[in-house]
């Protein structure tokens, strides 16, 4: 019985089909597969280019601001009505009148209230504060003539950046024909300059887009990240070391592990609700403070740090632990002397990736009130603060068109931070990666 079936098996043994048609078919399948892959990559690259290109094209003007050169006659009767010559008395001067008069010197033909107001509007409302600050700092300027660069309004700025042009119909631009003529005249005289705006990185938010910066948001982000790191790195790393190296493997640790993984998948806004309910309502911590933001982000990032740290510890081969233990090292010694130093690059990479994730987080921070108009950089972790992504969100919501460039510029700054952090993570991994 068995013999016959074996014989039949030998007889019916089929030779492999090595025909050219079959091989061509296989080659075609491989080629098709490669083509699908290339297509997918091309689509991804195209989207990425479109995305980055749009942001860069829109954002670059946001880093520049236009200034106009004016000869301002600091008339004593306007700048220092009481004549005392002290910082306090010059603070009460009417500096918008001084600036308007300076403009009227250049364009004496502007007549009537409307036209004169239009002329004054080519300057930023912030310009008079800049002049005021200067005179307050040095009251001896009263009675003198100064030649200086003043910030222009967002509409004038957009004109010189070529976003609005003279050819556009007057009702589609926010500048009157008369204003356009003035701006062109100023430009012809070489009194207009568009410069890189360093203030963008140092000053806080402003109601005027030409004067708005993200300095306060950068400081707020730094403080929030600091609180987050101090809280979640020690807790996360210690939890991971205990779970991976010391904890017995039983039902309880299984449940803990599953829940850590679940926690990593919880939408971030839920952590914001938790922060609102627990830290603000129950513990009464201040709203909009980097302290609360940091705590909420630390809770959100904790699972990421625990999971990456455990993975880094797992990647250390058990033979290293055995080698140490066989020499008479205690469990703790084998971990601190051997496993931890080897896992450190992985732990650092995980921490940086968690940090980058938290840096870009918006939703939970909106809920704890970090969606605030912050003009001054926070001085401490209890001050009112905002962070970069929330700043981006609030600018994106503004009506003034000039905020569009600011929004994209702020996105570029955020992306710069994120990309450099990820680059550091990659470098660390490359530098310290070990192979066994």
């Amino acid at each position: 019985m068995t013999d016959t079936s074996l014989d039949r098996g030998a007889e019916s043994l089929v030779k492999p089909d090595l025909s050219a048609a079959r091989i061509r078919k296989r080659h075609r399948a491989e080629f098709r597969f490669k083509a699908y892959g290339l297509f997918a990559i091309a689509v991804a690259v195209a989207f990425l280019t479109l995305f980055l290109g749009t942001i860069i094209v829109r954002g670059i003007p946001g880093f520049f601001q236009t200034y106009v050169l004016l000869d301002v006659d600091i008339a004593p009767e306007v700048a220092d009505p009481s004549g005392a010559g002290t910082p306090d008395s010059v603070r009460r001067g009417n500096y918008s009148v001084l600036l308007r008069d300076a403009l009227l010197q250049d364009f004496p033909d502007a007549s009537g209230r409307t036209e004169r107001r239009d002329l004054a509007n080519i300057l930023s409302p912030i310009a008079r504060f800049n002049l005021q600050d200067e005179v307050v700092a040095d009251p001896s300027l009263v009675g003198q003539q100064v030649q200086e660069w003043f910030l222009m309004s967002d509409d004038a700025d957009r004109f010189f950046k070529g976003i609005t042009t003279a050819d556009m119909p007057a009702d589609q631009r926010r500048l009157t024909d008369q204003q356009v003529a003035w701006l062109q005249a100023l430009e012809a005289e070489g009194k207009v300059e568009t410069r890189f705006d360093w203030n963008f990185f140092t000053v806080g938010n402003s109601a005027e887009p030409e004067a708005a910066g993200m300095g306060a948001a950068i400081v707020g982000s730094l403080l929030t990240m600091m609180v987050m790191l101090i809280l979640c790195v020690p807790v996360g790393v210690l939890a991971a070391i205990y779970l991976e190296e010391f904890a017995p493997k039983n039902k309880i640790t299984d449940i803990i592990e599953i829940n850590i993984n679940n926690l990593a998948a919880v939408p971030s806004i839920v952590f914001g609700l938790l922060g609102l309910a627990v830290f603000l309502s129950f513990f009464g911590l201040p709203r909009s403070a980097p302290l609360v933001g940091g705590i909420v982000l630390a809770l959100m990032t904790l699972p990421t740090i625990i999971i990456t740290t455990r993975a880094a510890l797992k990647a250390v081969p058990p033979s290293i632990r055995e080698g140490a233990v066989a020499l008479g090292a205690s469990k703790l010694q084998s971990v601190t002397h051997h496993v931890l130093p080897l896992a450190l690059p992985g732990i650092l990479t995980g921490t940086i990736i968690g940090l980058a994730q938290a840096l870009g987080e918006t939703a939970p921070l909106l809920l704890i009130g970090m969606f605030a108009f912050v003009q001054e950089a926070p001085n401490g972790i209890l001050d009112t603060a905002t962070v970069i992504p929330v700043q981006i969100y609030s600018w994106a919501d503004q009506a003034e068109r000039a905020y569009e460039a600011k929004t994209s510029a702020a996105i570029m700054v955020l992306l710069f931070f994120l990309i450099s952090m990820n680059a550091v993570a990659v470098l660390l991994r490359r530098r310290f990666e070990r192979r066994w």
Partner: protein
């Protein structure tokens, strides 16, 4: 005798005591040889699997003893009982009476760290720490406070490397990573690392299975040299190696100790049919 003794097991314990008495003659028949370690009625369970069954074995001092047997026969498991490396495996349970110089090594009062300082181990795959050659050797002396200052430490490192026959090859690269050495050098580095703690017993778990014949020959030479000062227990798959390096051999099969005797005797005149079958290559 049995570690988890209770009333219900009394009968069994008495029986095993009889067996132990009986095996005293079997396991350590040359009464003039000093026995370094003794095992009586040793059982190991991985979860519910009974991996090592009632093993009685004596390990003579300053000799090489080899443990042979087919894969999965429990010889490595037995070896790892001798310095309690099985403790770190989840679900592994050991019972029986195991002594080092008459001292119960499974005594709850005994610090396992102290035991492992006295009973060193070398693994199948060389596992140097990813540190310098010097730090690899110096690690054990450092954690056990053997060297009080740096010149003493250098002394320990130098002698350990010399005794492991590695000194001439690495004396100019003491501060290069130990992982950069060749496989055979790495294994001798691991032996030097074990020696540096001045153990009394060195356990070797198939130390040559990842090495080429030349490196193997060097390790075998080294073992012969080391047995002047240390007691060595080696697990090996190579019967030629067992015959070359060891004075006594124990044959394990399916978790039981089948036979132990002088190496010459085992290979020329095995008492048990299973031993005969294994050494003549009928199975394994």
């Amino acid at each position: 005798m049995s570690r988890d003794m209770n009333k219900a097991e009394n009968g069994e314990a008495a029986a095993s005591a009889m067996a132990a008495l009986d095996s005293l003659t079997k396991a350590g028949k040359d009464s003039d040889i000093e026995m370094k370690m003794t095992a009586r009625d040793t059982n190991v369970y991985y979860g519910s699997a009974h991996a090592l069954k009632h093993v009685d074995l004596d390990i003579p001092a300053r000799q090489v003893m080899s443990l042979i047997g087919p894969s999965g026969c429990g010889k490595s498991t037995f070896l790892r009982c001798l310095n309690r490396m099985n403790d770190v495996i989840d679900g592994c349970r050991v019972d029986g009476d195991m002594r080092l110089d008459g001292e119960d090594i499974y005594d709850p009062k005994l610090d396992v760290v102290q035991l492992r300082a006295r009973v060193g181990m070398v693994f199948q795959k060389p596992n140097p720490f990813p540190k310098s050659v010097f730090d690899n050797i110096a690690y054990g002396p450092r954690i056990h406070g053997i060297a009080r200052n740096s010149s003493m430490l250098e002394e320990v490192v130098t002698t350990s490397l010399q005794r492991a026959g590695l000194w001439d090859e690495v004396k100019d690269r003491l501060h290069e990573p130990g992982t950069g050495l060749s496989g055979g050098q790495q294994q001798r580095l691991c032996i030097a690392r074990a020696i540096a703690v001045s153990p009394e017993v060195i356990l070797m778990d198939e130390p040559c299975s990842a090495l080429d014949p030349i490196a193997t020959a060097k390790i075998e030479e080294l073992m012969d040299e080391l047995r002047k000062n240390f007691t060595i227990v080696i697990v090996t798959h190579s019967m030629q190696q067992a015959a070359r390096v060891s004075q006594r051999t124990a044959f394990f099969h399916l978790g039981s100790l089948v036979e132990t005797a002088e190496t010459d005797e085992i290979f020329t005149n095995p008492k048990d049919e299973r031993t005969q079958g294994y050494i003549t290559g009928r199975y394994g």
